[in-house]
Structures are given as structure tokens and as C-alpha cells.
Subunit: 235 residues, 2 copies
DNA sequence: GCAAAAGTGTTAGAGATACACCCATGT
DNA sequence: ACATGGGTGTATCTCTAACACTTTTGC
């Protein structure tokens, strides 16, 4: 073992995940009932400590998988919370991640071990520590990022309709867009593959399904040009 | 003292600062010769440990002030580096910040205690640990942020000319913009106050000085509309 | 007068907005 | 047939890009 930095403080390092989902109506977040003391039983974000031989990214994946059973989920580190008093138990640094998951895939793997529940981002219970601030910051970051990166697809099933995609954007930006312009711009990105079948649950005419063109997706994450009409006035 | 989380690992937590400056020609970063073992004497970012009663933001300010003497500097936390092996001495989490300072103000307060030196972002020495990755990430983040937020002013003196501002943008984006369009767009933000005097050092005609309208600045940080011509193709 | 850099003007084209209209289908 | 939501068409307007042109001043 190598020598150590002497006379320096050491702190526990945690990861907390803001898990976003979309049920077709509202943007939601996944909350759990805390299993640890202190504040056992109170609602909180899904979190855990960073173990000895893993990075924070790995910790976030591990923790999300233990809750949802899902792997290869879109996750992004967005901010590290370090206020000395943020955790009442002992000083803990928390590296916060947001995750975007398809709410239906989650249901396949649901585990009751954590008493997890979805809440609308507009109406959720009080959370422990600084977790409410984390949610706020995560939402802002999601809005900011999604103006220029095609990431909101991660919240939808493999097959989705344009009206559904639009309502997701509208919910994320708490705003409403012209459907004609939205579809034209969306299709002009070249990211969508039109399917043969339609979704008839929402209307009589039915709306075509689309899939994401995953081949081009990686390179084109940034090819959302001006889907959000006036990003500067919103953000 | 409160009870502790038992059986959890604890790590030293550091802050590292990528300090950006602009000398009128090139975007630069400030590097120091490392004072600690291991790797004493090698070039590195300015950094330090987060002390018991301060947040990471406070630590970053303290560390920057100790190096440059400057306070109230623009600083932004942008990423936390957590690879288990990133520090060869012992496992250390590093919360990275970038700072934007007026290179001339720094000179007033220069302290030789740290053997600090400015290097072009395009040509700087090998750095310890993962500090080169930090610089890369910081530069990308600066580029990304500055497409939609008026922060590059922080790199300039109080009074500056449009040509200087433009050359800064060009250097940050490694690209060149049309001067006519640049000045029209820049002035249309309403962020600049034209001064009476001109800078005659750069040309015979002389270029008017401008100041930032600090009253509106806070609210209008985001009012950079499309100063960078094709951000999506660059970023 | 000429060179050099600052700054203004202009035009063609692209893209955005708003809104009207058409389409497909279940009842 | 008609109501409903999906989807298309289009006129107008604004913004951008490109580049030509004018201005100012030192030499």
C-alpha cells in the first residue's frame, strides 16, 4: 500500500440518482423509502456509497440496477453536493446523477425491496437532506441539455409516436409547441425511422410509430437544432 | 458528535481548478509546480483538499485566492473525477472547477510561492494524474456553456473592444467569424455599453471600448443568442 | 495618397412561426 | 356524416451568412 496524505480529512462519498420517467402524461421521478438510519422510512432519492474499487459512474449503475434491474441506462453525472452539513449523520459528499428510463421497462423488473414509487415532478413528498434541491437542479440540467441533445428519447419505449414525443417535450419545458413545426423539425434531424404500424389507442386516425435510428444516434445526439422554440427564454 | 455510517469507506476529497485566461492572442491556462509528494515538482493544476468546515465551492475560492490573490472570480463546478486509481498516493475524489480571470488583474497579485505559469491551451506540459483529461473536459464545458451564456467577458479587462472580444470567441471555438455579423449580434444583446474612448494600439482608426452592462448582466447571462454561428457543428 | 483595420450596408436565402387545411377512421 | 386527432401546406416574417463598401487615421 502506498503512503497516505497525512493530516487530511476523509469523508464518505455517496451517489444519488434522480431517475426520470414518463408515463405519457407527466414527467416523473422515482423515489424510495430510506432504509438507513437516520430518517429511516422517509422518502428520498435512490442512493448509496461509492465502494472501494469502483468509480462513481460504476456506483451509480450498480445502484440503479439494484433498484430497477435495468442495465445500460442513460446516466449522467450533473453536480456534486458538498455542503458540510448536508447529511445530518456525518459529513458526506454526494455525487448526483440523473437517469432516463422507460417507465414500462422498469415495471418488468420491479423489485419491492425498496418500496419505490413514481411521483410527478410537480408534486412529490418532502425529501431528506438536500434531495429536493438535487431534484430541482437535475430538472434544470435535463432541460438545458435536451435543448441541444437528443436524449429525451431515452424516456420513451422503442416505438413511439410523434404526438407522444411532443407531449413529452411540452411537459419537460412546461410549454406547448406547434405540432406542425415540431414534426417537421423533428423529422428533419434524420434521427427517426418511420414504422408501418400505427398507434390507434389515442385517436381514431392513429399515429405512425417511429423508432430511433440507433446507428446514427451516437453521432447525432447533438442534432437537435431548434426543437424547443425559444430555449433562451425558458432556461 | 453524531453517530457515523459504519462500514463505509472514506476518501480524501480535493478540488482542482482549471484557471482560464486570455492575453489577447491565445486562450491560456494557469499551471503550478506541485508542492506535495508524490510527483513533487511536476506541473499540475492548482488544487487542494476540502477542509472540514467548508463546501467545495468555498475550497475552490480559497485555493484560487491563495494562488492569485483574487476574490469574486467566476468559478463553476463542472465535473467530479472519481476513478479509483486516479491519484497514485491514495484514493482521492476530485471536484473540478473552471475559473475565468482577467490575466492582467492576476498579474497585480502575482505570488511566486507557487511557481505558477501561463500556458497556451494548445501547448502545455504533461500534467500529473488525470489533470490533462480535466483540462480537456473543462475546455469542452467552457465552449458548451459560452454558446448560450455570456461568460467569456470574465476573461477580458473592464474595458475591451469588439475586435478583441471577437478574437477571444474565435480562439475559444478555434474558428473564425464574420466581423460584421459578430458585432451586430453582440450589440443586439444589449449587454454592452459603448465608451467614448478608443483603443488605438491595434490599428490606425482605433476601436471603441465597451464595458459590460453589469446591471443587466446577472439577468442576461443567457442572452447570447447565436453569437457562435454553428454551435451544433462545433460541439 | 495609400494601407490597414474598424465598422456599416445590403442582399439572397434559410429557417421559424402561425395558422389554415386536408386526411383517416371509429362511432 | 361527423367528430377527432394526425398530419401537411403555405404565407409571412425574421434572422443569418456572406461580402461589398465606407470610414478613420497613421505613415
Amino acid at each position: 500500500m502506498a503512503a497516505k496524505y497525512s493530516n487530511q480529512s476523509r469523508y464518505t462519498v455517496a451517489v444519488d440518482c434522480i431517475v426520470f420517467g414518463y408515463d405519457g402524461q407527466n414527467l416523473k421521478i422515482l423515489l424510495v423509502k430510506r432504509a438507513l438510519t437516520p430518517l429511516k422510512g422517509r422518502w428520498s432519492l435512490m442512493g448509496g456509497f461509492v465502494a472501494k474499487n469502483e468509480s462513481a459512474d460504476q456506483a451509480a449503475s450498480r445502484i440503479l440496477a439494484s433498484l430497477t434491474g435495468l442495465k445500460d441506462v442513460y446516466q449522467e453525472q450533473f453536480y456534486t453536493f458538498t455542503d458540510p452539513g448536508r447529511d445530518s449523520q456525518e459529513r458526506t459528499i454526494s455525487i448526483a446523477y440523473f437517469s432516463l428510463i422507460d417507465i414500462k421497462k422498469y415495471k418488468e423488473f420491479i423489485s419491492d425491496a425498496y418500496h419505490a414509487e413514481w411521483f410527478s415532478i410537480k408534486d412529490f413528498p418532502n425529501l431528506i437532506f438536500d434531495h429536493e434541491e438535487m431534484v430541482k437542479t437535475a430538472k434544470k440540467r435535463l432541460q438545458y441539455k435536451a435543448t441541444s441533445h437528443a436524449i429525451l428519447f431515452e424516456l420513451l419505449p422503442d416505438k413511439f409516436t410523434l404526438p407522444l414525443l411532443q407531449s413529452l417535450f411540452e411537459d419537460v419545458y412546461e410549454s406547448s409547441f406547434d405540432k406542425g413545426n415540431f414534426s417537421r423539425k423533428m423529422l428533419s434531424t434524420g434521427l427517426l425511422l418511420k414504422q408501418r404500424d400505427k398507434d390507434k389507442t389515442g385517436s381514431k386516425k392513429g399515429a405512425y410509430f417511429y423508432k430511433l435510428d440507433r446507428k446514427n444516434y451516437q453521432q447525432n445526439l447533438h442534432k437537435i437544432l431548434k426543437l424547443v422554440p425559444n430555449p433562451n427564454s425558458i432556461l
